[in-house]
């Protein structure tokens, strides 16, 4: 194995030690990842590569370190940024035709925080258009291939919507990547790609400068190859931001502080309603195994009930499209992106949006427009908001008894590119285990826990109380230690 390959196999934690010990420079570490990125273009993980910018930032990091001014564990660490985060002077597409050529004159708060922490951006990763999808197949820039392959050798999806980020981290093209999660868009691709994917509490990361999908649900979070790396990377992303009025005015804790504490005495809830009709035996078996692992590590596993779980997905598919139809009204061909000419102002809007939005985005904007329209608003939108209240109350009651909840992450392993495209509802079912926590704004994490019969990764999912990410990472670390997931694509 060459030295360059070794550098791409490191964790963020070990790479930081190597940089501190002068085993290699940030420039060498970055160059190794640029080479890997260029050799893996077949995956279509990146929409835009930024190698010159990356090398410039890596050299600046080396200079800081030489002067003893390195700013922390992320200084000099090559990462990828989901192309939903606005990056100053770098093309930002949201995976959509309608943002053709858009180069923001500003930087999103999360990517600015990572930059200030010294992280080196390698490029912008592919995603489902406007983060709407669970397969990365709705991207205007084409599907992403999962670096994992099944026994039959077919190309598989990496999950979505943060599919490019997941593929890039899994294929060792970067040490970590940002994702965004509205209903499962970090956690489901993490499960499909053998990674750790973490969505923090709503309000922990600023949404400022992230292309908005559903503003009451969207949260940024990390995709990494270990729980410790996720905790380190979230530390570089989180923090109060006056530019996002829903940003939480709270101190950012040291998310790594509980990692070595174990789970002795921790109360883990097992929600019985997550046992779905027709659930794959492999998923149930992995979940049972997860319960046993945590028991063996000293946790108390307790059955709990979240009675409204089955209504979470239909609630989400009213609330999220409603918010999306409002958020996406800004793409009108006037101020940025694509413009398709029309005779009248309305004609120009219709032509631009008809050509600029793909099929899934069109479906969701139309659903959102319908449920918000006169005569249907109360029956659909208000009803969904009421059920959302009940779902959040279910969690509150469960957390009176337990510290965290354990569930599967996704109902299956990665599926083939092109599957489930003719049935939107079948595609939506991918998020059945991740959506409830999103509706309640809770922090949650997917940890790689095993392989299915085809040798494909499966994940387990932990959910914690609001702003209790430290306990979430602590439980996830115990799960990771027990699962000993070492397989690579």
């Amino acid at each position: 194995m060459s030295a360059a390959t070794d550098l791409t196999a490191l964790s963020i934690a070990d790479a930081a030690k190597g940089l501190d010990g002068s085993d290699f420079s940030a420039e060498e570490l970055t160059q190794a990842h640029i080479n890997a990125m260029e050799q893996a273009r077949d995956l279509n993980a990146f929409i835009t590569e930024t190698p010159e910018l990356a090398l410039e930032r890596a050299r600046a990091s080396d200079k800081r370190r030489a002067k003893g001014e390195a700013v922390g564990a992320l200084d000099g660490i090559p990462i990828a940024i989901k192309d939903l985060f606005c990056t100053k002077d770098v093309l930002t597409t949201a995976g959509s035709h309608i943002l053709d050529g858009f180069k923001p004159p500003y930087e999103s708060t999360v990517s600015a925080n990572l930059k200030a922490a010294g992280a080196v951006m390698l490029g912008k990763t592919n995603l489902d258009e406007f983060a709407m999808g669970s397969s990365n197949m709705s991207s205007y820039y084409g599907p992403v291939k999962n670096p994992w392959r099944g026994k039959d050798g077919k190309d598989l999806v990496p999950g979505g919507s943060s599919g490019g980020s997941a593929a890039a981290v899994a294929a060792r093209l970067c040490l970590g990547a940002t994702g965004t999660d509205t209903g499962g868009s970090i956690r489901q691709p993490a499960a499909f790609s053998g990674l750790v994917g973490m969505k923090p509490t709503y309000g922990r990361c600023s949404r400022w400068g992230i292309v908005a999908f559903a503003s009451s649900l969207d949260q940024a979070g990390p995709l990494t190859r270990s729980v410790e790396d996720a905790a380190i990377m979230l530390g570089g992303m989180a923090g109060y931001d006056a530019k996002d009025s829903t940003s939480a005015q709270m101190e950012t804790p040291d998310f790594t502080s509980g990692l070595g504490d174990g789970v002795k005495g921790l109360k883990v809830g097992i929600p019985k309603e997550y046992t779905m009709d027709g659930m794959a035996p492999e998923i149930q078996a992995l979940w049972d195994q997860g319960v046993q692992w945590l028991k063996d590590a000293g946790a108390a596993c307790i059955d709990v009930s979240l009675p409204n779980t089955k209504y979470a997905l239909p609630t989400y598919y009213i609330v999220a499209p409603a918010e999306a139809s409002s958020n996406l009204a800004r793409y009108d061909g006037v101020r940025y992106g694509l413009r398709v000419e029309g005779e009248t102002l309305d004609g120009m809007y219709e032509a631009t949006r008809g050509e600029g939005f793909g099929e899934e985005v069109t479906r969701r904007v139309l659903i959102g427009t319908y449920v918000l329209s006169a005569g249907y608003y109360d029956a659909y939108y208000i009803k969904a908001q009421q059920v959302r209240t009940l779902i959040a109350e279910d969690f509150r009651k469960a957390f009176d008894e337990v510290d965290v909840l354990l569930t599967p992450t996704a109902p299956s392993a990665a599926f083939a590119i092109g599957d489930k495209m003719d049935d939107p509802v079948a595609m939506y079912l991918n998020d059945v285990f991740t959506v409830p926590a999103s509706l309640a704004g809770l922090p949650a994490i997917s940890v790689p826990a095993g392989l299915d019969g085809d040798g494909l990764p499966l994940g387990l999912h932990l959910i914690a109380k609001p702003f209790d990410e430290v306990t979430l990472f602590r439980a996830a670390s115990a799960l990771e230690s027990a699962a000993k997931f070492e397989a690579a694509p």
């Binding site: 004159p105 829903t246 006037v334 309305d346 427009t369 209240t389």
Partner: protein, 99 residues
């Protein structure tokens, strides 16, 4: 509730998305399936339940009602598809609205 082609045409206009006539029937079928599926919420008893309008139990920060940003006309027009620049400053342009 099933959506017919005319309803789809109407909401597509409300959303200002041009949908070709030949795509209306397929879209009506897909949207009807989705709406039919979300209608299972009708079986939940929500009498007296407050709609959830805020995710976190916290009061959101307030600030003085003062301008904190702006004065960047070049940035604002940077990505405009057809900006018009005049000696007095730049503009967005749209098709003629007033006769």
């Amino acid at each position: 509730m099933s959506l017919d082609k005319d309803t789809v045409k109407k909401i597509a206009y409300l959303a200002r998305i041009r949908v070709p006539d030949e795509a209306l029937a397929g879209l009506a079928g897909e949207l009807s399936n989705i709406i039919g599926w979300v209608e299972q919420l009708a079986e939940v008893d929500t009498d007296g339940v407050e709609p959830m309008t805020s995710v976190a139990d916290m009061s959101w920060p307030r600030r003085d009602d003062k301008v904190t940003d702006g004065g960047k006309p070049e940035d604002v027009l940077l990505n405009a598809p057809q900006p018009e620049n005049t000696p007095d400053g730049g503009f967005y342009t749209v098709p003629k609205v007033l006769e």
